[in-house]
């Protein structure tokens, strides 16, 4: 039997954008066990809910994550709106959907770039990020912020997108989709990429379900679970079908994200086509008294905001379960059996967002 050694991986590692530490137990080059540890960037944002007014906290909630920021704001706002019984105007629901899908686009393109970088395909990394830049420019034109949009608030949205800009976005979608399909073609059909990813980090459907995986990680294993199906914001009106792959390996998880990019473009197109005229927000009167589990689908999976108000202007408790926390048990199951050189690719395949996880 080969001698076992423990190799520390992270928290600072070239492929990791954020700090997670893994103790890899190796037999020669083969991973046999892995012990993850997090806790490097806890910021105490949940506690802050007791010190900020419930309408102000939405800006803090947005800063939980630097990539799926808008979805955190939507999740938090939806929770407070539900507790207070506020009905969000239709146009605000559609605008939230458009910005959410733009966020998903830029998050997935960012991930595709990092993933390509992780497997050593530098050219594809730069190409993905170049495409992402045009999404960020659109976000900046419509909201004022590239990654922190700051346009979602309790009771609606803060800004409108003019009809002219909506038309411009609609026109830009076709050439953008063509470029994305060119890019996706390389991810899905290139022999080098296939050779690197197929059969790596396999998780079966039952295992993924039992471990409570969410998002593209679960859908790559054939679990057709996407919270957008429940129809929050305007997803109920514009229709939604989850993207599912069945292989359960790194290639399947990559394919889910590539196809979700196409799906997001389609969602934005339909949302722009159907967006109604009307007010942007409703007046928020009174204070929240009650509790609610607000669930939103982020690029990485389902995020849960548990909010409890006690009738004062400060909420008494917020608890946020982010998708990466749910996907770390999957990672522990995926890694044994992989080579040491494949570890970065497998770790990236769950799209870890540690700042979210530790809040």
């Amino acid at each position: 039997m080969p001698k076992r050694i423990v190799v520390p991986f992270g928290p600072q590692h070239p492929v990791l954008p954020e700090p997670i530490h893994l103790d890899l137990v190796l037999e020669d080059e083969l991973v046999v066990d892995v012990v993850p540890s997090i806790g490097y960037i806890h910021r105490g944002l949940e506690q802050l809910v007791q010190k900020r007014e419930f309408t102000e906290y939405v800006y803090v909630a947005e800063r939980i994550c630097g990539i799926c920021s808008f979805m955190h704001a939507v999740g938090y706002s939806q929770g407070v709106e539900h507790i207070m019984g506020l009905e969000v105007p239709d146009r605000a629901r559609y605008l939230r959907t458009i910005w959410s899908e733009c966020s998903r686009l830029h998050s997935h393109l960012l991930w595709l770039g990092l993933f390509a970088d992780g497997m050593g395909f530098e050219n594809l990394f730069m190409r993905s990020w170049q495409l992402r830049e045009s999404v960020l420019d659109t976000l900046e034109d419509t909201t004022g912020g590239r990654v922190i949009q700051g346009t979602c608030k309790v009771g609606g949205v803060r800004r409108d997108i003019g009809q002219e800009k909506l038309d411009e976005m609609h026109r830009a979608l076709d050439p953008f989709e063509e470029q994305c399909r060119d890019l996706g073609d390389v991810f899905l059909n290139d022999d080098t990429v296939k050779y690197r990813l197929k059969g790596l980090g396999v998780i079966s459907k039952d295992e993924a379900y039992a471990l409570g995986a969410t998002g593209p990680t679960a859908r790559g294993s054939g679990v057709a679970m996407d919270h957008r199906e429940t129809g929050y914001a305007a997803y109920g009106d514009i229709g939604f079908k989850p993207v599912v792959e069945t292989a359960g390996d790194c290639y399947a998880r990559c394919a889910v994200r590539v196809k979700e990019v196409y799906a997001s473009i389609d969602q934005i197109r339909r949302a722009i086509d159907q967006i109604p005229e009307g007010p942007l927000d409703v007046k928020v009167k009174g204070t929240p008294n009650g509790e609610y589990f607000s669930r939103v689908e982020q690029p990485r999976g389902e995020v849960i905001h548990y909010l409890r108000g006690d009738g004062t202007k400060h909420l008494s408790r917020a608890r946020i379960r982010t998708p990466t926390l749910a996907n770390i048990p999957m990672l522990v199951k995926m890694l044994p059996g992989a080579q040491l050189a494949d570890v970065p690719v497998v770790v990236l395949s769950i799209d870890p967002c540690i700042s979210c996880t530790e809040r």
């Binding site: 900020r52 800006y59 830049e133 420019d137 034109d141 419509t142 700051g150 060119d182 073609d185």
Partner: protein
């Protein structure tokens, strides 16, 4: 996938040049809505304190006695909530980002607003214009 699939990209990149820009020399791209930093006008501030109460990160401090308005630029997250909340339009959002700094700077402004003396008989339109 066919042969030379990336060649199209390579040729396009050769023709179009780099996608990035030489940042400090070429200014960053901004839009009309870009939230760069907030600017304060001490001549119109009436010390109501709404901005400091609304600020989610406690970056703004107002001393009504001393007539001092302070902003901690390192705390400010440029959420623009104070801009929306200011009833007198004293705070505005500027498009450009502030240059990086290496030490904590608290910007101090002395409020120069002077309450106009109440005329004995004021026409109605003027008073409505002033209070807006």
């Amino acid at each position: 996938m066919g042969f030379f699939a990336m060649t199209k990209t390579v040729l396009r990149n050769l023709a179009e040049g780099p996608a990035t820009r030489q940042y400090p020399l070429v200014p960053a791209r901004t839009s009309a809505l870009t939230r760069g930093h907030i600017a304060f006008d001490p001549a119109t501030c009436r010390s109501c304190g709404l901005c400091s109460r609304r600020c989610p990160c406690e970056a703004i401090r107002l001393d009504k006695e001393e007539k001092v308005w302070e902003i901690n630029r390192m705390r400010c997250i440029a959420c623009s909530d104070c801009v929306e909340g200011c009833p007198f339009g004293s705070i505005t959002m500027e498009r450009d980002y502030l240059p990086p700094v290496v030490e904590l700077v608290v910007e101090r402004h002395t409020i120069t607003y002077v309450k106009p003396e109440k005329p004995e008989k004021k026409p109605k339109e003027e008073s409505a214009g002033e209070s807006a």
